[in-house]
Symmetry: C2
Subunit: 243 residues, 2 copies
Amino acid sequence: MNASRTARERVRAELIKEITDIARRQLATEGAAGLSLRAIAREMGMVSSAIYRYFPSRDDLLTALIIDGYNALGEAVEHADAACARDDFTGRWLAVCRAVRKWALAHPHEYALLYGSPVPGYAAPQDTVAPAVRDTVVYGRIVADAYRAGRLTPPPVSPPPPAVLAEDAEVVRAVIPGVPDDVVTRAIIAWTGLFGMVSFEVFGQFNNTITHRAELFEHNMTCLARLLGLPEGVDPREQNRRA
Amino acid sequence: MNASRTARERVRAELIKEITDIARRQLATEGAAGLSLRAIAREMGMVSSAIYRYFPSRDDLLTALIIDGYNALGEAVEHADAACARDDFTGRWLAVCRAVRKWALAHPHEYALLYGSPVPGYAAPQDTVAPAVRDTVVYGRIVADAYRAGRLTPPPVSPPPPAVLAEDAEVVRAVIPGVPDDVVTRAIIAWTGLFGMVSFEVFGQFNNTITHRAELFEHNMTCLARLLGLPEGVDPREQNRRA
DNA sequence: AGCGATTAGAGAGCACTGCTCTTGACGCGG
DNA sequence: CCGCGTCAAGAGCAGTGCTCTCTAATCGCT
């Protein structure tokens, strides 16, 4: 509760941080499967069993890293969005896209942990759901803002979503409040398209094929913006400013 | 070379098949990280070291599974495409989408192996590239066929791709022959959008959010078809026939 | 200040993994 | 029919996650 707890608790918090830091570094170099509690203990000059005082199991350490990852990505996305003019909705969308891609390329293994194959017997505990949607919340706000401002014009020939999707749309509106069903489905397309693109690049599907990945990404996200119904870049120079 | 090789070679081929079969089953239940050579040997009544006569390392076994996976998915996609009328390009695209989704949901761990996080220290050897693009080849043929038939009408407001992408488009045209650059980029959007959608579903990103996943998928793939420039379903009953 | 309770680390140990090496047996082709 | 090559077996190495017990340090409280 109060600011400076007992000395034990402070050193404990510090050790937890040191463990996760080393773990994150191991993750970056070896990948999730190479994460070894014993190696962490070795690097800290501890004995392996001592780690279990701080993380009851390897999966718990992994969960901590996942939560940290979601928060790091969410924070990057929040910052990217915050740096844009509030009414430049296309710019905000593109900024979010670039932030996701940049973070994913900088932390491929962490990205894999969040958006790649779920780890073996591991089921994400409930604590992860809140951080997991930080980026999505930002995205939802952009879409909702654009819609409220009347700047979300549906593309000419967009088929109406089937009626059954109405209930799902109701749930999705928790992050994209106040938009009709067809905007919800188009928003999902753009969002999954973003992560499909990033995953292809990070996971190596573009190897030996696509070389100008940044340009392709930029162009495709612009196309997805158009599909979403976002207006053409109000001021192209505005977009190039943060490249 | 000739049909019935020596008895030794035949039993060897059979053992290799048995190993991969058990491995595939292990993969399905435990995931890639739970794949254990010793467990396979145990199940076969062998001693663990004997496995190494057939697969020099765990990664080699994994590679075999990956190649098999790509081939299985590619085959499913090929069959789905082959079952469609050749000039029903939208139907062929949707059939491919459904085939990918169906296979991925039926074999989530194998799908994760192919399109999820790359495994730890493992680098895909050259033997995987040919099977890896079987599905993409089918997709490319559909796009190329549709374009050649003049049934690929670009959506009204699609921005032209930047000039630098021309060289990449040249490479991509190996699987989508004879189409202009803007078709190439739109094809990539649709393709990554498909896998983004499937990955979100298979990897659990839709948990607690989307319940009518088949309907959402169907609708979104239709939207992507429209973005690609494919015509509206020539005959809706034709599409419903294979659900 | 000191005492009892709590917590941290050390170490041994279990069951498991991938992988290597040697040994002995078996089958196939010259 | 005999020797070469292949094969299973077993022991063993280094590593893993995790549990248990034991000791020592620290904390809260009287």
